[in-house]
Amino acid sequence: MRIEVDVESRLGTFTLRAAFTADGATTALFGRSGSGKSTLLNLVAGLLAPARGRIAIGDSVLFDSERGIDVPAHRRRIGYVFQEGRLLPHLSVQQNLVYGRFFTPRSERYADFGKVVTLLDLGALLARRPASLSGGEKQRVAIGRALLSSPRVLLMDEPLASLDAGRRGEILYYIERLRDEVRIPIVYVSHSIEEVVRLADTLVLVSDGAVAAAGPLREIMGRIELRRMIGRYEGGAVIEATVLSHDLGSGLARLGFSGGELLAPDVDALAGEAVRIRIRARDVSIALEKPAGISILNCLKGRIVEIGSESGASVDVRMDVAGTVLIARITRHSAGLLSLVPGQEAWALVKAISLDRHSVGFA
């Protein structure tokens, strides 16, 4: 389902002027805190009203200032998972879960209670009260509650932000399952590129109340001029690969992609499954010849496409490895020593260790 947003809103001194279209299954709104991404979600949900603009899901217009349309929040049929869960404290988990279903017209109810409870492993929690749940459990119930209102779109506002690192991975896994099994469009707000890369097909970069870039995840992640927004540390290319085999002896998995093969440790996916790998630019080195006698396992032959023009000690170099984009962040000094120029052939070196559990997710 297509989500179209083109809005203008003013909150105190903060002005938001943003437009994007989300076609994919999972759209991530990514940006720093205070960039306006949560405000965008609230506008879509109808919890805030834009000064002007248009918001539509599929053929149903939720807001249109020109035509005077403003569907109230309770009739938008949008599932919203808040950062802090916001479960109703006086109701049991079961009552929280069915709360939204009660208000959904019978003909529009597609979510099945049993299936959602199984999907999110909520069976053991049904009789409990929200106060006795852990943060991760609360978030699972919040996701289930939103799903069971049979929404047309699921909005998630940093659902992992209030959880500790261990719980994050767990909830991320459930969201991945949801994305693949329920097939409901998700709009996911986050300031963690790791989550975005694991979940999203479409990436919308939000900065200072405006959309800086929007498009398919791999394309946006491969654009080196956007690195400032993605973050110096976390930026890098995203590639899709298939698990070819696991070597139990070394603990490494062979991942095949259009540009060749990669070895990575601790991959959860089974052989044959599709995965998405984020290769951080800072973990990629460049050599002009295939190195020998080196511990780095992944040496990929490619061609230099673009060298970043930013000033400072480091530059981002975009490489094309048989159709797949890789980005390497090297010092300006090294780029000078190797006299790198676009069009040149080179080897991209990626330490297998840098492809850790956080960088590899189910596609």
Binding site: G46, L47, H74, L88, S132
Partner: protein, 234 residues
């Protein structure tokens, strides 16, 4: 002295209970609405309205009673209108006593409900609305149940206050046995006649027991309501 109550004393007891119950039931929706306004809304005149609601706490009750007489008496503007439109007469009737009690109890009621409303996370409303609940459903399924401890406390405080109301009642509806003579008024009457001491004392004991019972019931109800709200596994 410790024999059963006389019919006149029973009258006073029942009248007190009737007046207190009706005053609480009738003022509860208004008290809740005021508490909700104070807890959730910013509007011009908020501070003034707040002060007016609190006036009965600080004014001599006789002033409230006299103001009611001027406004709601048969010649008062509101009293005349009520009589012509609904045939409702408040002055010198038990219904008038209920009105006086309701006004005297309102600040206590509003304070208690307001506190519990302020303790509710207003963002829960937004969560419920994204799940399909309109404002009325949010009120019925989120706001009301979560503020229940405050509503119970407020209602019982106002009830207890009504049982003890004296000044505003005697000024507005006088002291008519069987009609407007509630317990405190009956006690007062007995203390004014020679040899009435014993009867006055008996009614005092009844009064103490009644108020104690009201406070104990309130304690139990609030504890039960709190358990429902706090949501610890029960």
């Amino acid at each position: 002295m410790w024999t059963a109550l006389t019919p006149a004393e029973m009258d006073a007891l029942w009248l007190s209970l009737k007046v207190a119950s009706v005053s609480v039931l009738a003022s509860l929706p208004i008290g809740f609405a005021l508490a909700w306004l104070f807890a959730r809304k910013r509007f011009p005149g908020r501070a003034l309205l707040d002060a007016i609601v609190h006036l009965p706490l600080v004014l001599p009750p006789v002033v409230i009673g006299y103001a009611l007489l001027l406004g709601f008496g048969r010649r008062g503007p509101v009293g005349q209108w009520l009589e012509e439109t609904f045939g409702l007469v408040l002055a010198f009737r038990w219904t008038g006593a209920a009105l006086a009690c309701a006004i005297m109890g309102l600040p206590l009621m509003v304070r208690a409900i307001r506190q519990s409303l302020e303790a509710i996370d207003p963002r829960l409303d937004a969560a419920a609305s994204t799940l399909g609940a309109n404002r009325l459903w949010v009120l019925a399924t989120v706001t009301l149940p979560l503020s229940l401890p405050g509503v119970v406390t407020g209602a019982l405080l106002s009830f207890a206050r009504s049982l003890g109301e004296f000044g505003a009642t005697i000024t507005f509806v006088s002291n008519i046995p069987g009609q407007t003579q509630t317990l405190p008024l009956a006690i007062y009457s007995y203390t004014q006649v020679p040899g009435g001491d014993a009867q006055a004392l008996r009614l005092c004991v009844v009064s103490v027991l009644l108020s104690l019972a009201a406070l104990l019931v309130s304690e139990v109800l609030v504890r039960r309501a709190n358990r429902g709200v706090a949501g610890h596994a029960d």
